[in-house]
Amino acid sequence: MSADFRTCPTTGLKVHAQADRLIKANAVVGVVALLIGGIAALLLLLTRWQVVHLLPADWFYRLLTVHGMNMLIFFILFFEMAILYFASAVLLNSRVAAPRLAWFSFWLMVAGALVVEWTMFTGRADVLFTSYVPLRATPWFYLGVILFAVGALLVVAIFFATLIVAKKERTYTGSIPLVTFGAATAAIIAVITLGHGAAIYIPTFLWSLGIGNVDAQIYRLVWWGLGHSSQQINVAAMVAVWYLLGALTVGSVVINEKISRIAFTLYVLFISMAAAHHLLVDPGLPPTWKVWNTSYAMYLAVLASMIHGFTVPAGIELGQRLRGYTKGLFEWLRRAPWGDPGFSALIFSIIIFGFVGGITGVTFGTEQINIIAHNTLRVPGHFHATVVAGTTLAFMGLTYYVIPLIFRKKVAFWPLARIQPYLFAAGMLIFSVAMTFAGTFGVPRRHYDISFAQAPFDFQFSPAVDLVMTAMAIGGLLAITGGAIYIAITVWSVFFGKPLEAEVKA
């Protein structure tokens, strides 16, 4: 048994060989999805930038589907599977509960993803990642999604089984670490999410085969139970990564363990109802239902993020102050390791997630205000600040630690790695703020041609729109550069990087 473990020379953690391999496999596939989604992002950006207007209409919507699925589903979820193995087996010094099943689920997810890629690229599923009924894709598309989801659900089950194994085999003492607790809340939410997923994708799959019917309003209602909850998985996972990066980079302290745990629990309790903010202009639902769900229920989930948004920086500040950086208000921040991509990514992730993503999100979630924000570019502006500058950037920062700690490799192109979070964060900040402005002028999201060239009516946006769309393009290009550097660094380090052991012996 013990031969299956190695002891990490840096952290002293015992790492199970299977956990090691599973983390690597999931992370690598995640980065491949990021690459596909990133290429699509470039082409979409150059199309929405009206000056270039690159793609023809059909390929715009096809690649918009490709981008949504690869980024929001495949990249994020494969990465989160890696995080689940890390937060259970590695952090608790345990073995993975059912390694064979774990590999089976991995391959199931890969197979599901490949089927979906095939349907999208061959034009059999131009339905965008929301696949709103009555848009109809080939049955294979829904089947691929279902296979992928079943695989993910199995990984979540293995995560919980690993927690039980670790407890039974007493691989750790005391209560589980906060990072593991955060990952566990993400996993619980994943179960809720995948429950909604089954409830909607199975009937829709049957409908695509010509069996039964799916009501458009019911579809939206249940689908967003999946769509919104899955975003809460990303938030919970991101916050867990915040705590982890804070500890790794500056030795931040957990100010109050109980409060942080309560905040994680709030996510579990209030997510499903908060999904109503996606349905605020839907005609089929009553205003009382909308108002109730998006006020009290949503604000309690928001409260949780605000608590973390306070405790994480406060933990960093306290950690730094206790180490002697006590001058003035901000010495702790000024003297922090800004050249550590793990640290800079952490700080930018917190700031852009909170200031841009959080504030816009809560505002649009207000029933009345939603009417002027719905389906405009303000919406992608909001979620590129949350799931891209927030979650993705945090995952990128974590990668710079995963490469040496799990892959046992040096991070390639180190000088580039140091500036990568700056490029990506600056780019994403400009991109999402510009999108938000464009949306405020009424520019629609998911729209191929805002010059309305062949439309029977004539419509002109405010001339300011040209300016903000250009800013959006510049920000997007900057972020894509940062993203490309990230992919180059990870792929190179993992496959051709200098192994660490040699360095240690030397």
Binding site: V253, L322, R323, P337, T360, I372, T440, E503
Partner: protein, 62 residues
């Protein structure tokens, strides 16, 4: 040179906290974070208000 390619948090991990660190409540102040949080709340209020204002332009009452 040896440090090239490894994050500072690994090469040069954060110093362990001093023995009695954080024991007195005096040491538990985080004024910097408080300032950041207040800036956040102010930004929130402004953005929220501006949006109601924008709404009032398109959705006139009376």
């Amino acid at each position: 040179m040896a440090k090239e390619g490894l994050p500072p948090g690994i090469v040069n991990p954060p110093r362990p906290l001093p023995e009695k660190a954080g024991e007195s409540p005096e040491e538990h102040r985080t004024p910097g974070t408080l300032v950041l949080v207040l800036v956040f709340l102010a930004a929130f209020v402004v953005y929220y208000f501006v949006n109601w204002k924008l709404l009032s332009f398109v959705w006139r009452v009376g």
